[in-house]
Structures are given as C-alpha cells and as structure tokens.
Symmetry: C2
Amino acid sequence: MSGSERIQPRTLKGFRDYLPEVMMPREHLMEIARQVYRRYGFSPIDTPALEYLEILAGKGGEETDKQLYRFQDHGGRWVGLRFDLTVPLARFVAQHAAQLPVPFKRYHIGPVWRGENTQRGRYREFVQCDFDIIGTRSAVADIETLQVVYDLMLALGFQQFTIRVNHRGILSGLLERLGLADRQTAVLRALDKLDKIGPGRVAEEITQAAGASAEQVQQILALGEMTGSNEGILNQAEALVVGSSAGQEAVARLREVLAGLEAAGVPGERVRLHLALARGLDYYTGMVFETLLDQLPEIGSVCSGGRYDNLAGLYTSQDWPGVGGSLGLDRLLAAMEALDRLQKVGTPAPVFIAYFDPQRLADYLRLAASLRRAGLGVELYPEPKKLSQQLKYADRRGFRLAVIAGSEEFAASVCQLKDLCRQSQQTVPLEPDAHSLIQTIRQILSESPPTNPT
Amino acid sequence: MSGSERIQPRTLKGFRDYLPEVMMPREHLMEIARQVYRRYGFSPIDTPALEYLEILAGKGGEETDKQLYRFQDHGGRWVGLRFDLTVPLARFVAQHAAQLPVPFKRYHIGPVWRGENTQRGRYREFVQCDFDIIGTRSAVADIETLQVVYDLMLALGFQQFTIRVNHRGILSGLLERLGLADRQTAVLRALDKLDKIGPGRVAEEITQAAGASAEQVQQILALGEMTGSNEGILNQAEALVVGSSAGQEAVARLREVLAGLEAAGVPGERVRLHLALARGLDYYTGMVFETLLDQLPEIGSVCSGGRYDNLAGLYTSQDWPGVGGSLGLDRLLAAMEALDRLQKVGTPAPVFIAYFDPQRLADYLRLAASLRRAGLGVELYPEPKKLSQQLKYADRRGFRLAVIAGSEEFAASVCQLKDLCRQSQQTVPLEPDAHSLIQTIRQILSESPPTNPT
C-alpha cells in the first residue's frame, strides 16, 4: 500500500486513548470502587450506550441537550448516546420495577458522552462511577451513602479529605421565612458559584435573579459564613429556619445523619456541614454532599451526590425516592498524579524471564508456567535476542525481577534472579518445580511496595 | 405529571439492560479474564467508542460496513461507533508506535456496536474481551496465546473443552500443490461453513466458487476428515503440502507450538489439530484457533483468534505482526447457564442485618461497620419494618446470613445469627467489637460455596 492511500491514525477531538500506564491505575481504581460498593450490598447493573432520544432529550437541561450525540439509526429511529448514568437509571427502574428489590442498591460504572466545548479542558467521553439506594427515604440510606464515600476515599489511599454536607431543606426553610420560597432555583444557581466567583458577585446575582433585598441577600450569604462545630452550625441553622417545617425537618435529618456517621466510626473531622453547598442539579431535594481533597481543593469535588424525591417520575407513576453519589474517576487520577501517589508501571506482571537459548525453549516455557501456577505474573520474552537488549526492555517496562538462565544454568538446575530495582543478583535452584525460586520471588515482592495493583 | 405526558421506559431493539443477577457473573468473568491476562504480562488499554468514520469504514467487510452506526457530530465530522476492538487496536498501534514497548501485549475489554439483524438472535451492543501480542512472529507468542486460552477456561471453571488449532499455511500449501493458490479466499469461506452446512454443500461451493475439480475438492475436504493423534495428523499434513515451502513452514510451526504447549503443562487432550478450521476472517495468516465446550459444541467457539501478518498496514508503513484471541463473554455466560454453573445471586454481600428497633440505630450502624471493616459484605435494611417482612426480603435476595438483634439482645450484648440457607440459628456474643460474630460468620461462609464471586 502506498503512503498516500494510508489513513492518518488519529482520535477525535475531545476523545483519548488510554495507554497501559494510565489504564492500569484506572482499572485499579474501578476495582477498588466495586469492592467498596459490594461490601455495602450494592449490585452492578449495565444499560445500553444508546437510548431512544426521547428518553434522553430534555432530561439534563438546555446545555446537556445541546451536547447530546444524536442521530437516526438503521431503522430510522432517533437515538442518542447517554450523557450520564442517572437518566438511564431512572428509565431502568421504571422499566424493571416489578423485578427489582426494594430498596434497590445499584452501582454502575461506564462511559458517557457529551459534545462538550473542549477548550475548557473537558473530554467528550468519560467514565462515571455511580452508586444509589433507591426506594427509601430512610436516614439510614443517607448515612450509608456518606459511609461509602468515606470508605471509598480511604480505600483509594486518601486520608486528608472533607465531605461537605448540606440539606436542601435548610435553604428552603430560610427562603420560606424570607418570603422567597418561589425563587429557590435562582438562589441555588447563584449559591452554587460561591467558591468560583465569591460572595460579592453571588450577592449581585441573587439580587438580580431572585429580586432579593440587601437584608435578604445578607441572610442567604450568611449560610456560607457559619463556622464552628457541626453542632454549632446546626444550632445556628435551626434559628434561621424557625417556623418552617421543611427547614426543621432538614435540621433534624442532618442531626440524625451526623449521629449515625459517628456511630459507624466515620471521624467527625472528615464531615463538615456547609450550609451554602448547593450542588447545581435541580433534582436534589434532601441531603447534598461533595468531597474535597484537603491538599487539592482546587480540583473540585471528587465524589458528589445527594437525595432526590422522585427519580423516575418522567417514566412511571411509581414513587422512587433515592440517594446516591458519583465518584470522579478522572479527577481522582489527576489528584493522585499531582500528589505523586500514582505508581506508573508499564507492566502488570512483576517477573520477566529472559529467553536467550532457543534450544531450551521448553525449559523457559515450563519455568514460566510453574511461576504462573503459583499466582505470579510472568512475562517470557518471545525472541532469543541479546540478553543486554532484553534486560534493557525489562528495565524500561518496569519489571521488578528478571530470571536469567542459559544452557549452563539449566544443566546445573539453577537460575540467576536479578532484582532490577536494587540491581542485586542471586543464584537460585530451579528444582523441584521452581519451588525455591517461587519462595524467593514472593519474599522479594513482599519486602517492598508491589510493582502493580493486581 | 399526567400519564399521557410520560415517556415509555424502553430499550432499543437489539439492546438490553443487565440486571444485577446477570451483571454479577458478567463482572466476575471479566475480572477473571483480567487476572489471567495480567499474569502473562498483558496490560489493559482503552480506546474511544467513537472514531473517525474513515478509520472504521471498509475495515470489516461489506456486511460490517452496512451495520456500522455512523453519523455527523456537532463539528460536522463523520464518525462511527467501533464495531470491534481490532480496528481500534490497529489505529492505536500506528498512532502510539513510538511509545509502545515491543512486544506489545495488551488486553482490551469494552463494548462494540453493530446494527445486526436481531432476528438472528444477535445483539447490537456487546462486550468484547480481546488479548493480543503485537510486534513479534515468534512461536513463543503463538504458544502463549493458547496457554492463555487454556488458563482462561480453567479459571472460568471449565474442564472439558477442546482448543482446535490449525495454520493457514497448510491450506495454502495444499492449494499451491493443487494449482489453486489464487483461490484461497473462496476456499476458506466455503470451508468455514463445514460444521454448519456439511461436506456435501461445502464441496458444491468450492466447486462453484473456486472452480475446483472433483479430485481437488476431495483433497481439500480430506483436511476435515483426518483423525488420530495430533502427531499423526501433522504427518498426514506434511504429505499433503509436500513441495510447498509455506506448507512445510506451517507444519513445522504447529509442531513447535504443540511441543511448547506440552512443556508448559497444557494437556494434549485439550488441544486438537483440526486442519479444516478456517476462521472466516481474511486477515489471519498463520495459526488459527477456536475453543469448543465438549458438552455444548453447538453454541460455537467461546474463544477464537489467530496470527496475522500486518495489523496496522492501513495506517502505517511499520510492520506490526501479531497473534491474539477474543473471549466470547456472552456465549460463556449462556454456556454456564445451560450447564447450571451460574450462581444466580441477587446480592454481592452475604450478610443481612435486620433493623427493627429505631432506638438502636446507632448500634446497628456500629455493628454493620465492624463487620465491613473485617472485609465482610453487609447490607443493613434501611427501614424498621416488621422482621418477617425483612427476612422475606433477605431470603428472596439470596443473603446467606441474617443478623437479628433488638433492644433485648443489645442489652445482653448478643445477637441471633440465622443461616438462611440451612435455616439454622444461633446466639452469638457481640462484644468486644463483634469479634466472635465475625469469626462465626467467616466460619459459616468458608464451609460452603461462597454466595458471591467477590
């Protein structure tokens, strides 16, 4: 084929390939998330990438609609690529209601697509990692949601993080008291930008969009300025919402959630009430939360969510309240990279076997098979190239150990075991069935951080 | 919202939701595949669902082209949803060549889309689970590919299966000797249908499509009728291809592969030479293989693949030979179901904690947290409903154990542990920190098959 007929190998703007050194930690993170979810009784589900357009369109607001990948399929049906995992969950729950247990606890890890403006550094395909408890209004589900967040962060190796918690009812209660109950959405949208644009501009926006007085604006912004203990903040909140039953219920629910978290062993310093927390999405009706890394607050929330009243109302008359969250996989990876916590390894197997005597191929294969049967990850170099070349490859790929044997070694039933990290080498017997070699390798691998997340 | 405004919750034709009881074994299978791949040094990669249309179109033949989901994106670019993981791999290898190690061993698990005719029971979205070794022509890579297949099958719980192996060079050699070298594609396509339509109709097709004589057809069909040991078949093959260097090389390569598999401990009865094996895809140039379940040959191959000369020739002038295979996740699941090997469990957590005393919420939360910290999967029922109702739920969901405690039990620092499988019950102390309870639960779970794959 001539060069001119070749097709340029490239990915679409806003899309990316994951090379092994990035994909390995990604897979590791997803596996940890699955383990935590399962430990709480969440089950996995999956839904199609493509949905009827009418299922998706208009479900995520104007911007999402614009970003929706939509087209006509072979049968002339209008279809779209899912833009999140929540709309498919709503459709799923409505469709399979009769078969689902209540409460229905599910997790769902999968890609979603949005034709985002890539100038903002956004990608058009990314993985979401959601968990939700559907079918109950119980405080237990709220508590458990935050426990999952706490366990996830610990399991992922983070110790310094803050789960910010709020309840929509507090703002509702305050607005009710201020006579601004019908302007909650406008106020929420403004408050959501507090971290980004600061109180001055939020005040302007509330004044304009909600027609609030200076006194009203001040009381609303006071939500963001409360300091002290969680209990202290709750007491102040109680005073703010006095007379509003929604507000009082919200305060009571937050008290119950905080007490439950304490009982479950979640340290108080990891959970902070933050009454200005809005979490943009209109559908939240109860508790809302986000999770910030203490060392990297600027990357934003790495795990957010909240409680909603009526998940599937667009598709069914059945009532499906729920609470859940979404783990920000890509942000977490970026954070781990920034904090130098990402082990970049080029191989998922720690042991390399050099192959330089073609007459001994059967011996190399036998040896590799013995180590693998013992559960060790092993790569046998496929070609009898120069040893120096093979060791260079092994080193560059990040193997921890290299097993080196030629006809002399095989005749004497030994091998050289080279620690590529410490640059040390020892002679190890091969018989019977590589037993000593397996023990020695296990010993070395257990002494230092493993080279891979398996 | 009135009923008439509601949207009917439904999935597109040819697409499906995975409910927990199906998704759990799917996840388990994918995790096992990952473990086996990693043990051989294969690394994961991922590529976008959407590619430039020019990358995909024309790469899988006429039928694939017809089935391709294609549309114009927001920027007016023609794009398509990937229909397999091999074309994206070819593009990936050409694009990232400079960063890839050689050999490049990758696995890739992800969904692909084809607008198939659903009347044939095919789905339009399914997961592929591929592994390949790129950048080497070595027999070691061929051997390792079949070792991976063998290990995968064992790890998935299958003992009775047959890996059928062939080499394209044997047919080439035979056709060369018969003077039909230029009609290999037509003969391959016909031979590929041998199992489906039988030798009579294959003979007709070869006669018509390749213009072969009766004598030539007979020699070609004889490939499918060879019996005896692998060595015996190889000797017959050697005679068939005499005078063709391609044919002789193929026989030598198969000998090397069989010897290597024996050295690596793959039992001879699991690998059968089958010289009529064609594996439709035109791009195979060396070894080809498929894997049949001895008890369910009719479901077809559950793991197939082969060696190809030039993976990325459409995108680069660099030479990328390779060998690999694809695990048929859905067929394996269907087989496991047919063989009654699929554990259908509704919950990934084995332990259920009933919640029926709201005054003791903190105790329930503390207890659940203690068990989870010990690594046990625990679901706490979120509402203080009637115990009988909760136990019915626990039973239906498939929990193995239920922990039951009310104020009396908590006061006495004990709980009732109910084995929902054996319908037995015992009183277990709760202090200190649920230690005895954890031990007892571990003991019961270890005595019988685990209720979940985690």
